[in-house]
Assembly symmetry: C2
């Protein structure tokens, strides 16, 4: 049986009500809902409404402050460190991105390291904010340790995504948004629901041996950095995940590595924190700080057209540009509605009942 | 039989003489030699002296200008575009990195896109320049198209490396320096010399099917982006390679994608260039533009120590930090000398004879 489908507007109204109910200002509730729902629209279901009750549980555990005093604690013409005051990452990150874009307007580029924040939804939302300003957007965040470095049994890194959004002219923009692991958690969750095996190279068991069991993480196993194994370059994926961790947290004063507090409220944060909350790293580069924006966009169109026109391998229709599948999904779901699987529906209904808001 | 070993000083003197002989100023010849030899010292043999005769052939083909007027063509407080005037990338890139560091001193960060350049050696040389200034260094470059995007038969990208060097305190620095492919070209060259098969996931043949033949590239085959195949995230490696290409070349006005001129002089550059030469992207971020450098380094030491102390999987001695193997090799070869395989020795001897400089 296929999943029931809900209109976007209905789901957004529900999310806004929930965020207001837990104390967000009307503007913050709308912003948080837009960031959250952008994941559902783009087909990254693991980062959308499926997480709403998780955010509420973190608020109940007093680990999220819904009235944060987000502030710049240090700055130079092209940099800032922002303290998120334990706010929702869904609110803190877009506000930090605005700071980065303001810096870029004056200094050419702006780079903001954020501490004392929480999970910020999909990285691509934040980077795409830069596009309408003719800027290149950058976003990274660290996350709960579920990933083992190459040769490590222990889990020391999160899926630590990197997103970069680059404007084009008549072509749609280039939007990279990738976990630095072989497979993102969302793909694993799909296999868990279907009780299907994972491909070798995605997961290791608690002893560090390759595994195909999608439930391995609950038993002490780990996700594997992009590359799958040393022979295929997993030390590169590990290096990228490490880079995201260092820029997001060591640079900002957030918790890093195994000290990153877990997203789930039933697990306690480490008793010996090395910083505040989780960390993000956001950036904006004004195109015309390098060359005229029109000239750049003309060449981006040429770049994209040439890659799109590449001869595909047998059995594949075409070569894709980053952002293509998510943009198609966004257009489709905005019109046709968003499918939610029955566990998510039950979770949202329970959440609505608890907070007195009909789903 | 093992390869003959040469003292570092002797090899450097030879390289300096060669670069002077083809017209470099004494200072540029020393700089180019330092960058080139840093690859041999760090064990990245494919990017060191093995390429010296290739640079000379490009000069003979009038594709390298050994007296370049390197200049800033556009700038803002935190950005610049540099025209390398067809100079050696070995000279252009460190000079562009100096510009990035000067920008960072005033604006917090500095980002320099370079056009009209040539192959710049190992990316890690340039990023490590930032370390003694308490800055984080970034370097990327595009390169001759040898890599097929996911689902593409055609080769549209280079091995497009990313390096980021991050200072620590009592620990040695974190130095990421990675091709955005599953395996760098150098690893393939080793297999070619030994006539050994490559692991599946490194190479595809001219029809885009997986191959283990290390000679496949000469027959129209291609290297594969980091991830090896779509199921294991090769679209992420493709995205990173694309990002490097766009920042290095679309932002600077260099050639990109399949238009990047080949490193080998016997292949002509495309007749319809979309820019000038090849492109680099260099960056410098002042640590104390974010937080006090001592505080940062203290946490970097803690980060590195924690990752080093991770329990290793059975059969592995320890978890490595990026830069560890290359730093050990550098220390060893500086003292014990640099091994050169017989083909490289013969190549250097022929080069010396041609230019009247004893090897």
């Amino acid at each position: 049986m296929s999943d029931p489908i809900y209109p976007y507007a209905q789901l957004r109204t529900f999310a806004v009500s929930i965020f207001q109910k837990i104390g967000c200002s009307p503007d913050d509730a709308k912003l948080a809902s837009d960031v959250l729902l952008s994941a559902d629209l783009r087909g990254i279901d693991s980062h959308g409404l499926a997480r709403l009750s998780g955010y509420v549980r973190l608020w109940e555990a007093k680990r999220i402050n819904t009235r944060p005093g987000i502030r710049i604690v240090h700055e130079t013409p092209s940099t800032a460190v922002v303290d998120g005051d334990s706010g929702l990452g869904l609110v803190v990150a877009p506000k930090a991105m605005e700071i980065a874009m303001n810096k870029a307007r004056l200094a050419g580029t702006g780079w903001v390291a954020v501490r004392n924040s929480n999970h910020f939804g999909i990285a691509g939302y934040h980077t795409m904010m830069a596009l309408q300003q003719d800027m290149i957007g950058w976003a990274m965040t660290n996350a709960s340790p579920l990933v083992s470095p190459t040769f490590s049994v222990e889990r020391l890194l999160g899926t630590n995504p990197i997103s970069v959004a680059i404007p084009a002219g008549s072509q749609p923009p280039f939007v990279l948004d990738m976990a630095t692991t072989t497979a993102a958690n969302g793909k694993l969750e799909i296999l868990q629901r279907k009780n299907k095996e994972a491909p070798l190279g995605w997961i290791q068991n608690r002893e560090g041996s390759p595994s195909t069991n999608p439930h391995e993480l609950k038993e002490g196993g780990a996700l594997i950095p992009l590359g799958s194994d040393y022979e295929h370059g997993s030390h590169k994926g590990y290096g990228l995940g490490a880079l995201v961790d260092i820029l997001s947290a060591v640079l900002s004063g957030a918790n890093y590595g195994p000290w990153v507090p877990p997203f789930v409220a039933f697990l306690q944060p480490p008793a010996d924190p090395v910083g505040s909350g989780i960390g993000h790293f956001l950036g904006a580069m004004r195109i015309d700080a390098f060359r005229p924006a029109d000239e750049f966009k003309h060449h981006m169109d040429n770049w994209i057209s040439r890659f799109r026109a590449a001869r595909p391998v047998a059995g594949q229709e075409k070569v894709l540009i980053h952002g293509d599948p998510e943009r198609d999904m966004h257009a489709h779901r905005l019109k046709a509605g968003i499918p939610l699987n029955e566990k998510v529906v039950a979770d949202l209904q329970a959440l609505g009942q608890k907070l007195g808001i009909a789903f």
